[in-house]
Symmetry: C2
């Protein structure tokens, strides 16, 4: 966390400008990768001047950090929206998965956060901690829901929430990459169904 | 497949030069991404001139295509090497997984093929079919082994080899991305163990 990132604009207009830059950069980075999103394109898409861009984001690192944080927030919001609350039941997990698998083009661009994360990890930007933080927040939502399920008796005592959370998150990221390669949502659907079935296999024995 | 890609050098020396270029490009692309690997860097690393580079690879697409094919071959070789043969038993799958999980730094750079694939899918290069082909070949090795297991009775009749192959491949790709983010092999180990346990759950009922 640099001090540059914490310089949030004092006025509503300033915040709106900053938001517009982050949104434009996020879209361009999703489409063309972190390195493929150039300042002139970002300025044009956000309708800001070069001096406005450098006022809020003095360097690429500060901009990518803001995009990662935005995407991380959106992913967490979407988890709860698609699951209609917490991810604390098999039905909620299936509802989350269905959001993607029932929209045949949802593979386009890949995972809003994971795709960007892969790029950042390969770049020279010093943002690994920001990527880790994003995945950790996502993992925590799964782990919290799975812990509730175990406490409630929906999962047996030998179910390990942290382990199962990693399995769900990996299935999503890997399935999304395969879906992008195949131009089909099928691999993601298969990977998520497998992971959720695995979680369900820790349900109470008959 | 362009005609350029099929122009393999006629002489052993030419083939060695071409190989050196592909290896150098593959390493640079793994470290810095497809867009981050520049021609001057590739020429320097492969110790070739600009005219040699453009003789074998007239454009970036032809070079990335060759790198994808090379990485795809290496992944298939490594599958068989690490499993000591075909991936047609739970022990063979665990042996393949152990190759990664017992080497604590094997997350560095991510999956040799998958990391490159993610980059290519985000680029303007017309190479989606090459990425699909690489994952398909990988998937086929898993599917073939799982089919043998089912025929042998190691898996029940309701086990679906194609589905389980996708689950294994997704767990590997997603686990590797999370391992890169955490600078730890643990998420990959967890994802692979979960996927292999899921496959094993289709074993004959007691």
């Amino acid at each position: 966390m640099t001090s540059a990132e914490e310089l949030l604009p004092a006025t509503a207009k300033g915040r709106a400008t900053r938001d517009r830059i982050v949104d434009a950069a996020a879209d361009l980075m999703l489409a063309h990768g972190v390195q493929g999103a150039t300042n002139p394109e970002i300025r044009a898409a956000a309708k800001v001047s070069g001096s406005q861009l450098s006022l809020y984001f003095p360097d690429k690192e500060s901009l990518v950090r803001a995009v990662l944080a935005r995407r991380g927030d959106q992913v967490i919001d979407l988890l709860h929206t698609t699951a209609h609350g917490d991810l604390d039941s098999i039905a909620a997990l299936r509802s989350w998965a269905a959001f993607y698998t029932e929209r045949p083009n949802s593979w386009e661009g890949g995972c809003r956060f994971g795709s960007l994360a892969g790029d950042v990890l390969k770049s020279d930007l010093n943002l690994t901690a920001d990527v880790t933080d994003g995945f950790d927040r996502w993992h925590a939502v799964f782990e919290s829901g799975l812990t509730t399920m175990r406490e409630r008796g929906d999962l047996r005592a030998d179910a390990q929430p942290a382990t199962l959370a990693t399995i769900l998150l990996a299935a999503f990221q890997g399935g999304m990459l395969l879906a992008q390669a195949q131009h089909s949502i099928d691999p993601l659907a298969t990977a998520l169904e497998g992971a959720i079935d695995f979680v369900a296999s820790f349900g109470p024995r008959d």
